[in-house]
């Protein structure tokens, strides 16, 4: 058995770590590239959302390299993503691939279901061994997310362009070598210290929150590396979701900060109930950041994403009442980088001028 899986941000480091612990033979597909996207767009249904297309591209590349088993995360609730494992299964079989599909439903569905699914990948391990591997691997994944968050908050202040990105790479390497819980704890400290050691300059930076559909937010290749771009423009960033937040939506201490209950509470005046995916979270985060005085919000959604379209329809009201500029960017295989950059440049000008005017007024 050789297991492959689709990419999504740093999920390759999480799964590589877990599979190594459980002695599962695995194959990381080539990094997502324009070739991946064209493969995916060729075989996926046209009106499926972009994440499915990229995932199918990843899996084709993994299967072509010799994998015979696919591990795909499942999902909860009325976002199509939760059903994509099944769609992928059928699309890939229609193309003619023969493989086994194992759907890793998130622990939120039930720890036992989750562990039993994992056991299909590692039949020689006991449920207890699997539980321990997941428990320790999870700590590492959370540390990877925490480092990423620190990177977003640091890049705006770096003195030398590229220092933060280099530090990030070093920090991830330190983390990837940690195995035991004790090692992970000290690697986490070391990794965060590496990011903090980036030489800083004082500057009055804009503060921007990034919200939207998780896949587009988590996968830099599909969002045109927007976080690095904005960081290089001297913008301090917060993001509404990190990989472990998404995998464990009921988590008590999410990496994004605060708690999901608080975020849903903040959304209440505008959207008081679940609308699938992260629609309600998007609204809640915007409201929170507007109250904290952020300069603007950048919202990402894949073309045809229903939950985010619902959220988007509420933005004009939020902007009117809380005075927070929001830029929505719709992403799919047709989106061109130049168009995204033009809008971002204009949005940065908008936020800078708005702040200048506020300073003059006070």
């Amino acid at each position: 058995m050789k297991v492959t899986f689709p990419h999504m941000g740093t999920i390759d480091s999480l799964l590589s770590d877990l599979f190594t612990r459980l002695e599962i033979d695995f194959l990381v597909p080539p990094k997502t590239s324009t070739k991946t996207i064209s493969l995916g767009a060729r075989y996926a249904p046209e009106f499926a959302c972009f994440p499915l297309k990229v995932n199918i591209g990843n899996l084709i590349e993994g299967l072509d390299l010799g994998a015979d088993t696919v591990a795909m995360v499942g999902g909860l609730g009325p976002c199509r993503f939760g059903f994509y494992a099944e769609v992928q299964n059928r699309v890939l079989r229609d193309i003619g691939y023969d493989f086994e599909m194992i759907v890793l439903e998130p622990p939120a569905i039930g720890m036992k279901i989750f562990l039993e699914r994992c056991r299909r990948l590692a039949p020689k391990k006991s449920l207890w061994q699997i539980f321990q591997a997941v428990r320790i691997g999870w700590k590492k994944a959370v540390a990877v997310d925490e480092v990423e968050k620190r990177v977003l908050q640091t890049r705006a202040f770096e003195r030398k362009k590229g220092d933060t990105t280099r530090a990030h790479r070093r920090a991830l390497k330190v983390l990837s070598e940690a195995v035991t819980a004790e090692e992970i704890r000290s690697a986490r400290e070391e990794a965060l210290a590496i990011i903090d050691s980036v030489e800083r300059r004082e500057q009055d930076s804009l503060r921007v929150g990034i919200v939207g559909e998780f896949y587009i937010l988590l996968e830099p290749f599909v969002n045109f590396g927007i976080e690095e771009y904005l960081g290089n423009e001297g913008i301090y960033l917060e993001r509404s979701v990190y990989l472990t937040d998404w995998l464990n939506p009921g988590g008590k201490k999410p990496v994004f900060g605060t708690t999901r209950e608080k975020i849903h509470h903040a959304a209440e005046p505008y959207l008081a109930h679940f609308v699938g995916g992260e629609g309600q979270d998007t609204i809640g985060h915007i409201v929170e950041w507007a109250r904290e005085g952020f300069d603007g919000i950048i919202h990402f959604l894949p073309f045809t994403c229903m939950p985010e379209i619902i959220a988007k329809s509420i933005f004009p009201k939020i902007d009117r009442e809380l005075d927070i500029p929001i830029l929505s960017l719709v992403i799919d295989e047709q989106t061109g980088r130049a168009g995204v950059i033009t809008r971002l440049e204009a949005f940065i000008d908008l936020m800078r001028n708005k702040r200048k005017k506020r300073l003059v007024a006070s």
Partner: protein, 328 residues
């Protein structure tokens, strides 16, 4: 006399202006890009120089439009700005209390919302170019009417035909159908103008508050039919600035003046003789990874001036970015 150069290279037209130190327009050039932005900028500079009094000294240069980085390298820009900001700056300059800017160019359209002189919201067409200049050009040619007269036909219409405007391909077949069953030409033309305005507002203006003064600029603002249709749809007077077709360049010139203000270093402007420099552009596919990015290179006499196009940034020439970005 001091002057500030603004260059706006778009998909269809290339515009250059020189503004004086009192922010008045000294001269402008409006020409077709014809898919050759470098040539367009060089020829444009030559033409502009001929229109200027010899005493004008260019103290700053700004570029905008979809070829803003390229033209920034060619002309030697002190500031490179996106076209949304440039258009907003120009509109606020010409109509100081402007609250809404409608801009329709060759292949894109924008809506900019301004409050108290500051841009607070904007939208740019994403999925569809219906209603932009290229389509109107095409329809005028198909009907055998010079594009300059297209709008005045629309003004003669007393009862506009209903044209399906969501997609230009279907708009065209709908127009043909209306012609075949005997509608008057002016009613079809005005119907088309209305359909395009409807499409523009549906795509860009949803959820936005359109307040007057409404400024309409860009090449399509020349079209009297579209002006009339906007006026009727928005129930508002539409202000079309005198130099509506070169507003992007005016914005770039104003931004250039602001950028060099208080600066002791001379402008990056290469002078009107930049028109004589022989630029060589070439492209190649990077083999570094499976992205196969196409990298574009601009050289002068074997020296690389600029390089861009990759996703990872490894080919970008940093000095160029610094040279043209200037202080913000």
């Amino acid at each position: 006399m001091e002057g500030y150069l603004g260059v706006d290279v778009g998909s269809v037209s290339t515009n250059l202006v020189i503004m004086d130190e009192k922010d008045d327009l000294l001269a402008y050039v409006y020409r077709r890009t014809m898919g050759q932005p470098i040539v367009a900028v060089q020829e444009g500079l030559k033409e502009l120089e001929e229109k200027l009094p010899a005493s004008v000294e260019v103290r700053g240069a700004g570029t905008t439009g979809s070829a803003r980085y390229l033209s920034g390298v060619i002309a030697g820009a002190d500031i490179v700005k996106n076209e949304i900001t440039a258009h907003a700056v120009a509109a606020s300059h010409v109509v100081p209390d402007a609250q809404t800017v409608l801009e329709i160019g060759g292949q894109d359209s924008k809506l900019i919302i301004i409050r108290e002189g500051v841009v607070v919201d904007f939208a740019m067409n994403t999925v569809c170019a219906a209603g932009t200049g290229s389509f109107l050009d095409h329809q005028a040619a198909r009907l055998g009417i010079p594009i300059e007269e297209f709008g005045s036909y629309a003004l003669k219409s007393k009862s506009a035909a209903q044209i399906a405007g969501r997609c230009t391909v279907f708009a065209e077949s709908d127009m043909i159908h209306k012609q075949q069953i005997g509608y008057r030409l002016e009613d079809i033309i005005y119907g088309l103008c209305q359909a395009l305005v409807r499409n523009y507002l549906n795509n860009l203006a949803k959820g936005k508050e359109i307040l007057s003064p409404v400024v309409f600029q860009g090449g399509v603002a020349a079209n009297l039919g579209i002006r009339r249709a906007f006026g009727e749809a928005l129930e508002s007077e539409i202000v079309v600035p005198e130099y509506y077709h070169v507003m992007g360049a005016i914005g770039a010139a104003l931004l250039a003046k602001e950028a060099v203000e208080g600066r002791t270093a001379p402008s990056n402007f290469k002078g009107f003789s930049a028109a004589e420099i022989k630029y060589e552009t070439s492209s190649f596919h990077c083999k570094g990874c499976s992205n196969n990015c196409e990298i574009v290179k601009i050289e002068v006499g074997g020296r690389v001036l600029a390089r861009w196009g990759g996703r990872c940034g490894k080919w970008e020439v940093e000095q160029v970015e610094e040279a043209v970005a200037g202080p913000i």
